[in-house]
Structure formats: structure tokens, C-alpha cells
Symmetry: C2
Subunit: 164 residues, 2 copies
């Protein structure tokens, strides 16, 4: 039982609405948003983004990793973005485990030894935002004039509030 066929069916209706239009490769607002993969966060409507407006980067937790830095460097150097928003959220899956527990679980369930790997869990959501904003501010690959903000999305209300 695959769900993929349902996506293809739903996409047919979307294609009718979309029509044919070529938008520029470079995002209109010059913003890149770094956020979580969580299913209850639909970034575009939550922030009022139209098609073509902003880069959206998502991983478990919305954490700033080497891969996020790789993507942001491409975003900035090739595609003209000059502002970054780090957006974490309430009730995050990254708050449901510790590295030690998760390492044990992977050994038990997958017979794989991942000792030493950081799966980037966190407990305090404001702290995780501040940590990731600091990682960006300290990265030699992110120019100093890039504007960086941190924020939290509430999955129950849809509200975004800034983290200073």
C-alpha cells in the first residue's frame, strides 16, 4: 500500500489551478527560512508566502547542520538571498528522545551502531533557536551583513513569535 499514487491524483487538480507560468529562480523576498519537517507546519500559508517568495529548508528540528549551511551558501551565493529566519516549533519530535536512548533504540531495531552521532534533540525550544541563530552568526560561510532572526511556531494556534 503506497500513498504516492494519492499525491499524483491530488496533483492533477493542482496543475489545473497552477496554469503555466515561469517564475524566476531567485526568491522574490530574498529570504531563506530554516524550519522543522513537522507535518503540522505549512510554512507558506503560515507566513503569507506566495509561490516564488522564499527558500524553505526543513529537517528534523529545524536545526542548523552542515547540510543547512551548504544549502544556505547556495541560497545566498547563487540565488541572492540576504536574510535567514530560524523557525522552531512547539511539541517537536526532537524533544521526544535523548541521543543515548535513540542510539540504543537503533541498535535494537535496526542492528546499527550509531554511537557518537548527534541526532540533535533538544529540550528548551527558545534555547535551540538561540543556539542555531548563533551557529549561523558564527559561520564563516554566512556573510556578516545577512539579517538573521529566530522564531517559534505554535502548532496548536498557528502563531509565530520572535525569539530575541
Amino acid at each position: 500500500m503506497s500513498y504516492f499514487d494519492n499525491f499524483i491524483k491530488a496533483n492533477q487538480a493542482y496543475v489545473d489551478l497552477h496554469g503555466t507560468a515561469h517564475l524566476p529562480l531567485k526568491p522574490k523576498t530574498h529570504v531563506a527560512i530554516v524550519t522543522c519537517m513537522d507535518s503540522r507546519l505549512h510554512v507558506a500559508p503560515a507566513l503569507g508566502l506566495a509561490l516564488g517568495d522564499a527558500h524553505i529548508l526543513r529537517n528534523a528540528g529545524g536545526r542548523v547542520t552542515d547540510d543547512v549551511i551548504r544549502s544556505l551558501v547556495i541560497s545566498e551565493q547563487q540565488l541572492g538571498t540576504s536574510e535567514i529566519v530560524v523557525l522552531h516549533h512547539t511539541d517537536c519530535g526532537a524533544q521526544t528522545f535523548t541521543n543515548a536512548e535513540f542510539t540504543e533504540q537503533l541498535k535494537r531495531n535496526l542492528a546499527v551502531d550509531v554511537r557518537g552521532q548527534d541526532f540533535l534533540p533538544f529540550t528548551d525550544i527558545e534555547e535551540s533557536v538561540r543556539e542555531d541563530v548563533a551557529l549561523l552568526k558564527n559561520s564563516p560561510l554566512i556573510p556578516e551583513d545577512i539579517i538573521i532572526s529566530g522564531a517559534i511556531y505554535d502548532v496548536d494556534t498557528g502563531r509565530v513569535r520572535e525569539v530575541k
Copy 2:
């Protein structure tokens, strides 16, 4: 000039529409989608996803990296997903450079030496999808019974087609 304040303003209208509702942490369709950060791809409407339906992972190119594997392991082991879709797209920013050129550019613009780092550019979009599907199928961290599909999104028409 920051764009962040505009997002906060737009979000106020979204909050009114959203109301208060607690959806489960685990995605309803049990699907995780791996795709690109491109601004012209709004994943939820393009695939008919409602809030709470699916995990959405995004980076430059929609490439399967260590960070994507980290996120997918959390998605599967902690949050119950059992299907993955790799979705690349036409006119991708990852097709606009080579590693050699980009390394030179970063040295020139940022005075940073990133020699040896792979920024994961690609030329053939079907090949990049197949490569990334193969990476998932060969990963010891992704169980063999996980359903994996590959697809391409056309940014001009909004159409998604499967890559076999």
C-alpha cells in the same frame, strides 16, 4: 531592512484562520517527502496535503545527505513514517554551478577555502532522483520495508511525474 516583520504581520491573519486545534505529532499519511528548498514549490498544495499529513524535508536540490538520513531515521523510528518520496524539480539552482566553480567563488567572495566539499550540484534531474532513491535503499538506517518513490516537479506547470 528586514522582511521578518512582514511574516509576523501575515501570520496574524493565518492565526485567525487556524483556530486552536491539537493535531497528533505523528503524520497521518505516514509519508516523509524529501525535496528542494526552491521558492516555486509549495509542497502541501502541490500534493494535496492537509495540516498533519506528512513530514517535509527540504535542502538545496532535495539531495539525500547525512542530515536527511538523520531526519528520516527520527521520522521513521520516533514518528511512525513508513514511506519516502524523493521529489526533485526542473530549473533547479543545484544545476547552476559545479563544485570547482563554486569553490573558487567562495574563496573569492568569502575568503573561505572549502576545497573537497561537495555542494551536490547535478546536471541530469532524473539521474539525481535515481541516485538519491538508491542512497536511501542502500542505507542501513532505512529499513527494507520502507516504500520509496522518486518524482520530478515541473516549476512551470506544477505537475509531478514519477521517475522509475
